[in-house]
Amino acid sequence: MKRLIRYALIGAFALAPFALQVASAADPAAEAASAVTAVIEAAAPAEAPAFTDLEGFAGSPGYATFTANNIWMMLSAGLVFIMHLGFASVESGLTRSKNTVNILFKNTLIPCIGLLTYAICGFNLMYPGGDFAGKWFGFAGFGVSVGADPASQVANLTSAYNAGYTYWTDFLFQGMFAATAATIVSGAVAERVKLGTFLIFSTIFVAVCYPITGMWKWGGGWLQALDTPFYDFAGSTLVHSVGGWGALAGVIVLGPRLGKFVGGRVKPIPGHSMPLAVIGVFLLWLGWFGFNGGSVLSADPALTSLTLMTTCLAAAAGGVGAAVTSWILLKKPDLSMALNGILAGLVGITAGADQMSAMSASLIGLIAGVIVVVSVIFFDKIKIDDPVGAISVHLVCGIWGTLAVGIFGNLAGTAQIISQLKGIVSIGVFTFAFALVLFLVLNAVMGLRVSPEEETEGLDLGEHGMEAYPDFTTVSPH
């Protein structure tokens, strides 16, 4: 019976596009344009000759710039997409081989589910359009569509929609983004969470929770309407902390893995493949070229190149910071910490990547690298068992990065710090509460954690009846 419900739910998401209603031609996302639009608008000058069909637009002077912008945004969508492989690799690399199929399965399905739910409702919850400006919630109806008539296609597929991209590019870029929040949770609850329950959590989380808080800022909601607007360039808070709060809620409800805290002592449970973890982190770094670079929402040369430079310097400094910190604190340089440090630097710079100098970016990354090492050790101390360090990387450094916007760079100032705190706290409270309640309800209804026997034997056999590496002799479960 339970099983049936599970199938029905999952199946529904795939079938639902049938029920899509045509979204209003009104541009739901254009209003989300960030503070950087001045330059972009200049690129598509107001006096551009009006065009009535796609051919007319193709002959217009702004077409080349728009095409270039749209290329950049489509590639950014592709780069954000490859972050899902990055997450899959990091998370499976930093956990045990007996749970690898399970983790890979989750990380394979989450982007699939995320994209589909974003098409059904997420996109229109997050970017409900100008009618909901300054609000806490809005919804532009189910489904995605550019409309059938030429006029609505011009409205949606040319610079009339947005100077930087078409409606479809917008949807795809934002959809790839959305699923990352759910993926962050998956690493923290790995090696003990029931597959079906987790997939339902993720689906609701990505379809409802993430878009709602996303709307507060990027959808033109109340955080955007503050006197000193909350600033979160590419989502230190809106994406990473959101994922991190979900992760924290999950870990609290689940409890630690068997054998992690024994007799008051922390027993490390090493991940099974460092090469996988490294592949994952490099792919995530690469993906961040699109995650941050695409968040410029156009290919504006000055802003995109600034953003990539700050992003890469922060990542580099984060890696060095964590490596040195672990070397000093732990006597030996810990590869997994260096990897977490790179991610910490990336998460840290994300909120202000377009507002920093090379120097500030390096410093933000360096501090994130130090923070993440201390944070990982701290969470172990308080018996929060997070196998891959997701809470430290995404939640803690997400908060750090959001605050850093008020401390460094162009926007630094007390008013900004206060707005940043408003954003951090409001989104934190909402998301943590949402995730906690959802996890508790699911736990009560269908169970959240696998049996101890299954956990000992591995979720691959228990949930999937498969092994990740059937040819290899693996050592006994720890």
Binding site: T456, G465, S476
Partner: protein, 112 residues
């Protein structure tokens, strides 16, 4: 001297090691093996076809002990590795003619 070979469930290794250490056993050799017995294997599915994995992962512990310690060691292993569920494993005791410690050329019970 006797050689004790114990086939146990993998997650019991730590407990068995501690139990043996407690009664003064200072050396043992461990290996991963696959066991076939009354405990039936599990069914796996791969691309639509089921198959049975008959062999289950087990740990084999080998230790050579002085005759007089044998019973105590067997008892310690039995106690530490028991779960009461099928597949707990076996302990076999075999006679040993002689032993050498390579480092020192000591022989006999000295060598253990």
């Amino acid at each position: 001297m006797k050689k004790i070979e114990a086939i146990i469930k993998p997650f019991k290794l730590e407990e068995v090691k501690d139990a043996l250490a407690e009664i003064g056993v200072t050396g043992m050799t461990v290996s991963e093996v696959k066991g076939f017995g009354r405990q039936k294997g599990h069914t796996e599915i791969y691309r639509g076809s089921e198959y049975t994995v008959d062999f289950l992962p087990k740990i084999k512990i080998e230790l050579v002990v002085p005759d007089k310690t044998t019973d105590q060691a067997v008892a310690a292993i039995t106690k530490a590795s028991k779960t009461g569920k099928i597949g707990d494993g076996k302990i076999f005791v075999l006679p040993v003619d002689s032993a050498v410690r390579i480092r020192t050329d000591e022989t006999g019970e000295e060598a253990l």
